[in-house]
Structure formats: C-alpha cells, structure tokens
C-alpha cells in the first residue's frame, strides 16, 4: 500500500482538493479524500505537502518505441501498400527504447501507439503503459483504433512512385473502397452463419476494418484543415466512430466538428510546426477553448518522437496562455484522452477503483513553467522519483 499525503489534488473527476490524501492498494486507487487519512500498517508514505498531484497523463497519439535512434530507423510505416489494415503497431514497439523512460519522467503513464501517417490505412493502434516488463505486461488494450491518414503524407510516398494515391481524391477513394469491401465481407460472413462452405476467404485486412464497421473501435484520422471534412463525411457515410488527430485548422470548422454525431474527440497537436503553405499552414491552439465550450472532447498529444514527451506540458501551458482554465487543460491531458480511447473506466482520473497512475509535481503544471515531475506512479508502483 502507498499513501500520498498532503498534496493539492486535481482529480479530473470534477473535484480539486486543496490538501488531500490518496490511498493506493493493489495497483488501484482505494481512496481519495480532501483530508488527512490514517496511514494503514505496512504502508509506504509519500509526503507530498506543497506538491500538486494529477492523474497520469494519457498521450493519445504517439509512436514511441517504433523508431530507432533516428527517424530513419523506423517500424511505423509499412510503405509497400497504401492500405495495410491487417498490421498492428504492437509488434513494432520496442519497450526498451529510451523514449519510454522520457515518457514516464514527463508524467505520461499511458500512450496510444499508432502506425505512422504514410499509409492511407496504416493498421491498428494500441494503448500502452510507460513502464513494465514486456509489451504484454504494458499493453492496456489492443486495438484501440484503426489508423487512417489523410493529406500529404501518403501522396508524397506513393505519388512519387507513380502509384495511387497521388491525390486526395485517391486517398478518399482508397478508404471508401476498403470500407465498402469490408461491408460486403461482413455481410457474406453473416449470411454464411455456421456454413463454412459459404464463408468468404479469410482477409486479415478486412477483418480489422470490420471491427470499425461494427463500432468496436474508431478510426484514428490524421488530418488537418479541410481534410477533416473528408473524415467527417466518411464517418457519416459508413456510420463509424472516429477521432480527428492533429486537427490543425479546427478553428475554421467549429460547427462541423461540434455537430457531427460519431466524433469521439479531437486529439490536438503538436503545435511547434514549421509553418508552410498548404497543410502545415494553420496552427490554432486557441481552438481548444472554443471546441470545449461546444462540448467537443479535446486532448493534447505529443506525436513522439516528433517532439520530446515533456513538451506536452508546454502544449497545455500554451492552451492556458490562450485562456483555457488550468483544470480544463489538465483534463485535456488525462480524462479526456482516456474517454476518447474508451479507457475511462481504468485511466484518466483519480477516483476510487481506477488504476493508480499518478503524477506528482512540485508546482502546478501548465501554469508555472518550472513545474517539475517529482514522482510518477504506474499501477501503484513508483517508477520514477526525482
């Protein structure tokens, strides 16, 4: 058992305790209260007086462990076919990669690790804790989404080979064709029932697309600016759940984003983008306040190793600079991404019964720039102590 004593606690569950205690037992949060609790026998105590506690950060869009020491050594983009729905990022993740240490030192306790954005349909993404013995041990859920990428990435690769997609038209068509085929495949399987003779030949790629069609998982759509309208249109055509990832330029489409039915959320960032005409032309972190007001579930992401994991706090800080409340900013790092990936029953807030993933800061993150992580706890275990 572990007791965190005397901290200011942002629970991300509607409550902020100015001074409270947290009791952790068997890797779960046993109790969180705004007063001092008696320390049970045989408990470890972390004196957090004057410190600030938040739930473990959930980075809902990352590629850590999928690249080597340079971006060139990569296992995130299988550039042999623009549609590789059969692939699973989980098999590319090297959990001994130092990025995992960087992540938990930055307070990130769970990352959604997805295939890259160079294929139109990249494969399955999974949610992984930042600490553990093996991928099996660390993986919270696989899959959490099917990665889809709109825009320039796939065009740059395949277009240069004189292959489709060379244009956005072909990108949309590849997605639509795949989903229509998967619908047929699903229908044939249903019609076949128990009759193995009528069963369509097994197709690993379409099997995964069927998981989207049956709304077991959403598509996780890399998009920006007007491409997000393509994502919205496809979600409506096939009645599937989706997330808008990166989502630069959302401020142009508040109504469209707020009104669409099956949107799980907006995963915004990173914002330190070298601006150029076209798809890297709009970075608008101020959109988070407005989307939040309109009831859209928003979160911040690192896209690591694109940026250093600790910069996720600078992102939250810049959102605060643009007028977002600290409480909201912390929710966008914790409970919101947990909801978006469908793991809010286990992650994202400090509530009884949830996984004991907790970060202790010396000062308020996203407010004081010199706020440092003093301690990261994953599944009730202290994995980092400054």
């Amino acid at each position: 058992m572990l007791v965190i004593k005397g901290a200011k606690i942002y629970t991300s569950a509607g409550k902020i305790y100015d001074k409270g205690d947290i009791l952790i037992k068997n890797g779960k949060i046993e109790k969180v209260v705004g007063e001092s609790i008696d320390v049970p026998q045989d408990s470890q105590v972390y004196n957090a007086e004057g410190y600030v506690v938040i739930p473990g950060i959930v980075d809902a869009h990352s590629h850590i462990g999928c690249f080597g020491s340079t971006m060139g050594e990569q296992n995130a983009n299988e550039l042999t076919n623009p549609c590789t729905a059969q692939l699973e990022a989980i098999y590319s993740i090297d959990t001994s990669h130092p990025d995992f240490i960087k992540a938990f030192k930055a307070g990130i306790t769970t990352s959604v690790i997805a295939p890259g954005s160079h294929n139109v349909i990249g494969g399955l993404a999974c949610a992984v804790k930042s600490y553990g013995h093996s991928i099996k041990d660390m993986c919270v859920k696989n899959p959490v989404a099917l990665k889809v990428a709109l825009g320039g990435s796939a065009k740059a690769i395949y277009g240069a080979r004189n292959q489709a997609p060379m244009t956005r038209m072909a990108i949309a068509q590849i997605i639509r064709d795949t989903f229509i085929k998967a619908k047929e495949y699903m229908k044939k399987k249903e019609d076949a029932g128990n009759d193995t003779n009528k069963m369509p030949p097994y197709d690993a790629s379409l099997e995964n697309v069927c998981r989207v069609l049956s709304r077991e998982i959403p598509i996780k759509v890399h998009c920006q600016q007007f491409d997000m309208l393509t994502a919205i249109r496809i979600s409506e055509e096939f009645n599937i759940d989706f997330t808008l990832d990166h989502a630069w330029g959302s401020s142009d489409f508040y109504n469209e984003i707020a009104c669409v039915k099956n949107l799980k959320g907006v995963l915004y960032g990173p914002i330190n983008i070298y601006l150029s005409p076209g798809e890297s032309g709009k970075v608008d972190i101020e959109c988070l306040s407005e989307l939040d007001k309109r009831g859209v579930c928003c979160s911040l992401i690192t896209d690591s190793p694109v940026i250093n994991p600790d910069i996720i706090l600078a992102h939250a800080g810049e959102a605060v600079r643009q007028g977002l409340s600290v409480e909201k900013a912390i929710e966008m790092l914790t409970i919101n991404p947990a909801k978006i990936i469908g793991l809010e029953d286990r992650l994202g807030s400090i509530e009884e019964g949830k996984d004991a993933d907790i970060v202790i800061f010396d000062k308020t993150p996203a407010v004081e720039t010199d706020s440092n992580v003093k301690c990261t706890i994953i599944n009730g275990q202290i994995v980092y102590r400054a």
């Binding site: 330190n272 983008i273 070298y274 150029s276 939250a316 600079r321 010199d370």
Partner: protein, 380 residues
C-alpha cells in the same frame, strides 16, 4: 510619439525597473524613466505588466524554407562561404510564421549547417514588407559545421568529405588559402568572403554536437587566432571540456524541444553550462539544432527549459536578447531596452518565461504594435 507608462521593464541586461515609462519616437527608444511627461504622445498603460526587449532567435531559417522549397542549403560544394542568405529570404515566408506573437522581433537567418562552410547569416526583423526594410545587418556571421550531418550529405554522393578527418582537412585548407589571399593574383570568391572571418570581423558560427567535435575546433582553429569562434549546438558541452578554457569562444545552445534530429538532447548538462554562464562565458539560448525544426513557440520553450533547469529568469532573458545581439554584432541597435535602441519590445500580462498564464498584450517592432497592425496576407 508613444509613451508606455508604468511597466515593469526587464532590460535584457539583467536589470529590472518597476513602474517605469518608455518614450518611443520614430521607432527608437527616446527616453526611459519614472513619471515621464510627453504631452503629444499616444499613451499605452502598462501598469501591472512586464516589458521585455524583443527576443532574438540567434540562428534560424525562417523565410528561406517554404513548404518543400528550400533556399538555404547549397549542397553543390561543401565549401560555400560566398553564399549570402539575403538572396534567399522571402519576407512572406517570415511574416507567415508570426514569430512576433511569441515576442520574437529579430532572427539571424542562416544557411543550414550541412556544408563545411555554408554561407553568411543576416539579421532580419520578423515582420515587414520587404527583405531590405527588415534587414538589420548582413554578413553577421559565417555558418560552418563539422558534425556528421555534413558527412551524411556529401558521403552519400560519394564526395568528400565522407569522414570527419576530411571535413577538418577541408576546413584547414580553405582557411589557410584565405589567409594568404591576395586579390591582385586573381579573384577567388571563397577566400575573399573568408578574409573578414580570419581577421575577426565576422564571427565563425561552427556547428558541433559532440565533445570530440568541439575539441577538433579548438585544435583546428588555433593557428587562426583572430577568428571569433561561436560554437552552435554544443549539446555535449561540460565544464571540464578543454574548450571552455578558451574564454574567447562563445556558444549558442541548440534546440531542446524536438528530438527528431537531435538524439543528444538528453545529454545536456544544464548545471555545468549554467556554471559556465555564471563565470562569464557568452552563451546564447537558441532554438536551432542540426536543422530548422522550429516554430514561433520554440525559442520561448527553449528559454523555459533553461529556466526549469535552474537558470534565473533574468539570465534566461539575457540569453535570448542581449547575448544574441552581441554575438550577431547588432547590439548597437537591438537586444536591450536602452535609450537609442530600436523600439522592439513586447508587453506581457506576466513573465512568460515563468508562467503560462502570461499572455502577450502588445509587441512592437520599431515602435509599431504588430498585434494591432493590419497585416497583409499573401495568397497563402
């Protein structure tokens, strides 16, 4: 005339003046003091707010890289000191980055450090209608590099330098030729552009990542004792390195935000470098690594990273204002809030280096508030 009243002025030289006024005339700081009177001036109330000199991003490539078009890497020859960045600078490309929104008012625009000698830096303001109206100084620095990036570029093309030893040999050879250059014997653009570097009139910004690279600089450049050496990147610098004994060498620390092309980020020994700063070594905080990986946020986030790692906020400010101005040789015009300097300054609701609640209230380039200015938008 503009009178900014009652602000808390951080002058960029380490001083803080509470409740102090600034008078600006024709884009220049005319007066600084308590309760200044200026009957005809427009008054800007800065009570309860913090005023800083415009931040300077010492090296970057804004305006020279637009989408997939780059005009800052002339890779046809590893030795290109004659390349002048002013011919690559598109003011729209700079304006588009909106650097002023994070308080940055000038930047040392540079060729990429992918050649052994890559060309000449020029200092530009971060907003304007024409490159030459934005230009503060050209030939402000000579960009060079001895990192493995140079070998990657030329080695792949089966050209020299494929190795470090070839890089250094090429550098020494070029500098030796330039030091005996006599125009009467025939015009040589390479030597001609390096003469002011050898004479110490233009600093040599030389990109290094590792300790070995910094040691190589020390050995290589020893015979050229007038060269003003500025190490850029300098990720592996420690207080025990041989190079720190040479007090004439200055540094521009590399980007700490993007890990994409800088695996050395995690090696940075903050406490060592802060000690060097305290002992008087000129060290600027930059946002540039082995390449441009930056946005308007990068310089401030790099500054914050140093603050977070124990450097005092006024010291941090100096290293993104007056120290860069000095290294770029423009400290007569910009880099601090002093009478006679350009009225490049930003006003924030608190100190942005210390708090994310600080939002920008005004940012002046030569006395003009960029946040109120109706900005011309280009077709992109």
């Amino acid at each position: 005339m503009l009178l900014i009243k009652n602000g808390c002025i951080h002058d960029g030289l380490g001083n803080v003046f509470e409740n102090t006024d600034i008078i600006i005339e024709s884009g220049i700081i005319k007066d600084i003091g308590k309760s200044l009177r200026c009957p005809n001036a427009i008054v800007k109330d800065a009570s309860g707010k913090d005023i800083f000199p415009g931040f300077i991003d010492t090296i970057n490539s804004y305006g020279c890289v637009i989408g997939s078009q780059s005009d800052c890497a002339e890779l046809t020859n590893p030795i290109n000191p004659q390349m002048n960045i002013v011919y690559a600078f598109d003011q729209d490309g700079m304006n588009f980055q909106e650097l002023y929104r994070c308080g940055i008012t000038s930047s040392g625009i540079s060729p990429l450090p992918t050649n052994v000698i890559a060309g000449q830096t020029a200092v530009f303001k971060t907003f304007g209608k024409s490159p030459y109206k934005m230009l503060v100084k050209e030939k402000a620095a000579m960009i060079a590099s001895i990192t493995s990036d140079v070998n990657k570029v030329f080695g792949v093309m089966h050209q020299s330098p494929m190795t470090k030893m070839a890089t250094i040999a090429l550098l020494i050879d070029t500098l030796k030729k330039a030091s005996t250059y006599n125009k009467a014997n025939g015009y040589d653009p390479v030597s001609e552009s390096l003469v002011p570097v050898i004479e110490g009139n233009i600093p040599l910004f030389i990109n290094c990542v590792t300790k070995a690279e910094m040691e190589a600089v020390l050995i290589t450049l020893e015979p050229f004792n007038n060269i003003k050496i500025v190490i850029t990147g300098a990720y592996d610098l420690t207080k025990d390195d041989a190079i720190v004994h040479n007090k004439n060498i200055s540094y521009i620390m590399g980007d700490l935000i993007s890990s994409m092309n800088n695996p050395s980020i995690s090696n940075v020994k903050y406490s060592d470098i802060i000690e060097l700063m305290k002992n008087g070594t000129q060290i600027a905080i930059g946002s540039y690594g082995n390449s441009y990986t930056s946005s308007k946020y990068s310089l401030l986030w790099n500054a914050i990273t140093w603050y977070k790692n124990g450097l005092n906020a006024e010291e941090v400010l100096m290293r993104i204002t007056s120290v860069p101005a000095k290294l770029l040789g423009v400290n007569d015009k910009i880099g601090s809030i002093e009478i006679g300097k350009h009225a490049d300054l930003s006003i924030w609701t608190a100190n942005p280096i210390k708090s994310y609640t600080a939002s920008i209230d005004a940012v002046y380039i030569e006395g003009e508030n960029m946040l109120l200015k109706e900005r011309r938008t280009s077709c992109w």
